[in-house]
């Protein structure tokens, strides 16, 4: 495919790349608070981009993110004393990939609502299995996780952000990405023009799960101790959806902006009002769905268009919307 540089569309990629490169230097002058906050923002960026990578184009809403992040947590939990961090991330990613592939293979051949139901139940299910394992088999609740240092965790998250950004951009331009979009626009039509819809969906879902597993593995090393309740947490399922709905599900910047906004909000509010901030998030979700269906990015584009329409008084041609 011929690639033409379109300033308006592509400047966003350049800006994001620049920000990523800038962040590589933050550990040199940032405080621990800044580093941990940034690590959280980056983790959430990976989660929201991975979520939107599959659920955005296809319309199959996954509520299973908590299961995949949690599996990443436990990959570190089980293996942090014997493996280096990159291996922990790989294990966390692969286990999540496998689980997603299995669940996907069964539920993605059915209507979307079944997929949503099973992903929703998956978090509780994995939590139940892990709890059973800890109570019955090892008789010890929770696991201690080795800490590799704030700087290391920060860079691990940064690398995952870079990888996720690349994956998202590559997929978007690729045949695979077009197939995902086609499935979302009309699954019937997509299957009739030669797209193996089930296999495409399963693969997309599994990749998204892999990415979530990796950042889960990193996150666990920042926590010292993990247990099933905090690892397989509905919050991890809820946040990516909230961030994408708020930011704009089908855009590139939307999930990134959403991730930053809610990571910072959560950080500011979690100590003062632990339950209330979640209530606020829930309310924002509802309001965003009702009043900002295309997300913040969509609102911004509409404002820009209105300004442009105001400027072109001669009634000249509008740019095609990006």
């Amino acid at each position: 495919m011929i690639y033409k540089f379109n300033f308006r569309k592509d400047v966003q990629y350049i800006v994001v790349a620049a920000v990523v490169i800038f962040f590589a230097f933050v550990p040199l002058f940032g405080s621990t608070y800044t580093l941990t906050l940034s690590s959280t923002i980056m983790m959430y960026i990976v989660m929201s981009l991975s979520w939107s990578m599959f659920s955005g184009p296809t319309g199959y809403i996954s509520l299973a993110s908590g299961a995949f992040v949690g599996l990443g947590f436990y990959a570190s939990g089980f293996l942090s004393s014997s493996l280096p961090l990159p291996m922990l991330m790989l294990v966390g990613g692969l286990v999540s990939f496998a689980l997603a592939a299995i669940i996907g293979a069964v539920t993605l051949r059915l209507r979307g609502v079944y997929f949503t139901i099973f992903t929703f139940c998956l978090v509780e299910l994995v939590k139940a299995v892990m709890t059973w394992y800890e109570i019955m088999i090892v008789r010890k609740r929770g696991l201690n996780v080795r800490n590799f240092g704030t700087d290391t965790a920060f860079y691990a998250m940064l690398v995952m952000v870079a990888i996720t950004l690349i994956v998202v951009v590559v997929i978007k331009q690729s045949r695979f990405g077009m197939a995902l979009t086609g499935i979302g626009e009309s699954e019937d039509a997509a299957s009739h023009i030669g797209i193996h819809t089930t296999r495409t969906k399963v693969f997309g879902f599994a990749i998204s799960a892999f990415l979530m597993g990796t950042v889960g593995a990193v996150r666990a090393t920042m926590l010292h101790h993990i247990d099933p309740g905090s690892s397989f947490n509905m919050m991890f399922s809820f946040l990516p959806v909230l961030m994408c709905v708020f930011g704009g599900m089908k855009t590139f910047l939307g999930p990134i902006i959403g991730a930053a906004v809610f990571a910072i909000l959560q950080y500011s509010l979690i100590t003062e009002m632990p339950q209330i901030y979640m209530i606020i998030f829930g309310a924002i979700m509802i309001l965003a769905i009702l009043f900002m269906p295309t997300g913040i990015v969509g609102v911004y584009e509409r404002v820009i268009n209105r300004i442009k329409k105001g400027k072109s008084k001669k009634g000249g041609t509008d740019d095609a919307n990006a």
Partner: protein, 239 residues
């Protein structure tokens, strides 16, 4: 040997027979018309052939290969393309990209360069070139229907199933559509078309099959069908 031979096709939905023991075959180079009152099972028959739903009983054989039981993407790759009653275009993509989708996925391992060529050919063939960069919702209905056909053509089919391609078109648009269908056949593609626009069916079809309540009630050349008493009753009864 007929290009497509379907025998004893049956499908029931919750006790109601949508298609009962239908035999249908089409020879290479034919334009076969499929008509019948609403609810006769025509679209269901298409769905059974294209693999969208599985038949309860019966077999379908395409160019010697048994296709009953295959998934839609496999049947498409073998060479059967289709359009839908309510045009299922990819609304979020511009016209040329819709056709590109068909070109890219229609055959296994299609290269991007080849696909691009196919897009240009097909857009030219169906006369949609001026609209190639427009979004689907910005083009008129007749063009949207032609776009769906174009996308199917881009998958390089040998057999094309057209489902009510002319519904909602005004008389001059119907005329253009008729020309397109004939042009498609002349380029070497066999066609089965479901239609309600009688003038079109009578004029361009080589043979016609009539369905009623899921069963085949008549089959033959247009003039025979037009004179067939049962067919006339069934249609007059409809009015």
């Amino acid at each position: 040997m007929p290009m497509l031979e379907a025998t004893g096709i049956s499908k029931a939905f919750g006790g109601l027979a949508a298609v009962s023991k239908v035999d249908i075959s089409v020879n290479e180079g034919e334009i076969l018309g499929l008509i019948g009152p609403n609810g006769a099972g025509k679209t269901t028959l298409f769905n059974l052939i294209s693999g969208a739903i599985q038949m309860d009983s019966g077999t379908a054989v395409f160019e010697g290969k048994r296709i009953s039981g295959m998934k839609p993407y496999q049947i498409c790759r073998l060479g059967i393309g289709r359009s839908f009653q309510a045009a299922k275009n990819f609304d979020g993509m511009p016209v040329h990209q819709n056709v590109l989708m068909g070109a890219l996925f229609g055959k296994k391992g299609q290269s991007a360069a080849n696909a691009s060529k196919i897009v240009d050919e097909v857009l030219d063939f169906v006369n949609l070139n001026e609209l190639r960069d427009k979004m689907v919702h910005d083009i008129p209905l007749a063009s949207q229907k032609r776009l769906e056909v174009a996308r199917a053509l881009a998958t390089r089919p040998k057999l094309l199933l057209l489902d009510e391609m002319m519904a909602g078109l005004n008389p001059s648009e119907v005329g253009e559509a008729m020309e397109l269908v004939t042009k498609i056949r002349d380029s070497g593609i066999t066609i089965i078309m479901i239609e309600h626009v009688m003038k079109a069916i009578m004029k361009i079809c080589d043979r016609i099959v009539v369905l009623h309540h899921g069963a085949k009630i008549a089959e033959g050349a247009p003039q025979e069908i037009a004179a067939n008493k049962t067919v006339i009753e069934v249609y007059l009864g409809e009015c």
